[in-house]
């Protein structure tokens, strides 16, 4: 309340005034309360998500204990270990980041440092278009067009690396169009827009003086980027990458369609697998009782993971943005 009266302070004519809070008409105070309530709704919803989903999943957590991180997922035998899905989530998200981050940072640098403004605008539109393509359309294209096409490439690579020590274990057979790697590629397409736009915002906060200084010392553009931009924006870009990681972990429908739907832990990246959101999407319809509790519990784990990642990422991005403007 006190902050409000202070802010409105300059509007009060000098004189023997009562405290402003007493003067404010009822409508004005009501409006403030409604606005505050709407803002608080964000916190309320987040708390409700944590509470209600944990409650529905409680039987899984209590009966399994640490067994929730077990290897075996067999609903028919009432075994609900989530390790294969956590593994699949980590693998697909890692593939997505390895593919998407260099490209996104490259486009962000292209937009901020290379092309003139009138050319940057249409490029931004194109990136925005990429963000508007719905997840289910990526999945439909992934399963009917992309996976059958890339399956040939996988099997060629697979037969070429069979027997080679590390490569054989990663890229050897079994191979399939719908696999960890296909899901990783599709996720990479989907997180590129957010990583690009956040990196661009971070890079744009590098002051002209720093950049001109580097050029004045005779630096090439690449040397300017590594010498002036990178030290300044590495924190912010790390935050952008973490936000991309959060998206890649939670993206559901596209992954559910192209990941191959198999609860396995394998080093073979071209083999079918499962990640946390896709198993929830694919198996929830037929689930009840303990099975459903386990699937909702997977959602709770996913919520916890993504919230932690997002909190860290936002803290980093926010701090680097403040440094930029200061």
């Amino acid at each position: 309340m006190s902050t409000v009266t202070q802010q409105a302070g300059p509007a009060v004519p000098a004189g023997p005034a009562r405290p402003l809070s007493e003067r404010r008409p009822l409508g004005d105070r009501t409006f403030q309360i409604i606005a505050l309530a709407s803002g608080l709704l964000v916190l309320v919803i987040l708390i409700l998500i944590a509470f209600s989903t944990t409650q529905q999943a409680s039987s899984w957590f209590t009966t399994e204990g640490w067994g929730i991180f077990g290897k075996v997922w067999n609903p028919a035998a009432n075994q609900f270990g989530a390790l294969s899905f956590i593994y699949g989530t980590a693998i697909t998200a890692a593939i997505a980041l390895i593919l998407a981050v260099p490209v996104s940072v490259g486009v962000a640098l292209l937009l901020t440092e290379v092309v003139p403004y009138r050319l940057a605008r249409p490029i931004v539109y194109v990136i925005d278009l990429l963000a508007v393509v719905p997840s289910v359309v990526w999945g439909l294209w992934g399963i009917l067009v992309f996976a059958p096409w890339i399956a040939h490439i996988y099997s060629d690579i697979g037969s070429a690396v069979t027997g080679v020590p590390v490569l054989g274990a990663l890229f050897g057979p079994p191979t399939g169009g719908a696999s960890f790697f296909t899901a990783g590629i599709i996720l990479a397409f989907m997180i590129t827009p957010i990583v690009t736009s956040l990196s661009r915002e971070v890079i744009a906060t590098v002051t002209a003086i720093d950049k001109e200084g580097a050029y004045a010392l005779g630096a090439t553009r690449l040397e300017m980027i590594t010498g002036a931009i990178w030290p300044h924006s590495k924190g912010g870009i790390t935050g952008a990458v973490l936000l991309g990681l959060g998206r890649a972990m939670g993206e559901t429908i596209a992954a559910a369609l192209v990941i191959g739907s198999s609860a396995t832990i394998t080093s073979h990246l071209f083999a079918p697998g499962y990640n946390m959101p896709s198993v929830i999407a694919n198996q929830f319809g037929e689930a009840s009782g303990e099975f459903r509790a386990a699937l909702i519990g997977l959602g709770v784990l996913l919520f916890v993971f993504t919230i932690i990642i997002n909190i860290i990422a936002r803290a980093i991005v926010g701090r680097s943005a403040e440094q930029g403007t200061a």
Binding site: T3, V4, A11, G27, D28, F31, Q32, A35, L36, A37, S38, G39, L41, V42, I45, L46, L48, Q56, V103, S104, G106, L110, P116, Y117, V126, D128, L129, L130, V132, V133, P134, S135, V136, V137, G139, L140, F189, T192, G218, T220, R221, L222, I225, L243, R247, G250, L257, P277, A281, F284, G285, I296, G299, L302, F303, I307, N310, A313, R314, G318
Partner: protein
Amino acid sequence: MAAITEPQLGPHLEEPAGWRRTKNRIATILMVLSFVLVIIPLGFVLYTVIAKGISIISWQFLTGPIPPQVAPASEGGIGPAILGTIEITAVAALMAVPLGVLGAIYLNEYGGKGVLARLIGFFSDVMTGVPSIVMGLFLFSIWVLHFGFSGFAGALALACLMLPVVIRSTDEMLKLVPNPLREGSYALGATKARVTMTVVLPTAIGGIVSGALLAVARAAGETAPLLFTILTVTAANPNIFSGANTAIPSQIFANATSPYVGAQGRAWGAALTLIVIAFVLMIAARIVTARFTRFSR
């Protein structure tokens, strides 16, 4: 900006020679290449959806009932799904947009730099990162288990996804409204609520509407939050408050794994419909921005 990005505009110095120049060229080529890598999948997806979808789409497809999956692509349509998407997205927007705008008003007009406002702002950002499937599970837990499947449950899930997006985009727009406008109104004796409603909001309305349209465009394409809330049926259900419903994305998801060519064909047609809806909303957002923006960065 342009002057900085184009060092050759300055006095013509001797170009760095040899390896340094080559490395610089390679870096530039890699940057252009990364953009090419972004366009290829986008072009590929759009081309496939248009090529496979355009032959399916007709008036009958857009309005017809959803046939069994075995039916050939020429039969039936996605009428009930379009109805469902319009109902559910509209109700979601009616809930999320006013609440989001009010929340942003709190952040920007009342909260200022206070702890509470910064906390709400921070967690709005964090909330945009909550996976959409978690919103589906959330609404399943607190709504569907008590009141059953309905379009409204789906609308609530979409509203939860849209709320933080609307708060953030509106907040950005309110920050652009120049303070002298507010101060002028206060000087005339207006209350804060009146200043907000009659001066601040009208000034920022273009950006607010545009941000809301983009949030709606995103929400209309969401599938995961609908899976456990509306339960994808094939019959049309104009009553959003009771009974299972359907939507375009759910229908595409159901058809995508179908072995029947007809069902796959209808999925492409539905995908094209969905993309067109999203693009129309996006273009509308750009037009609104262009027409009503009074202050920009």
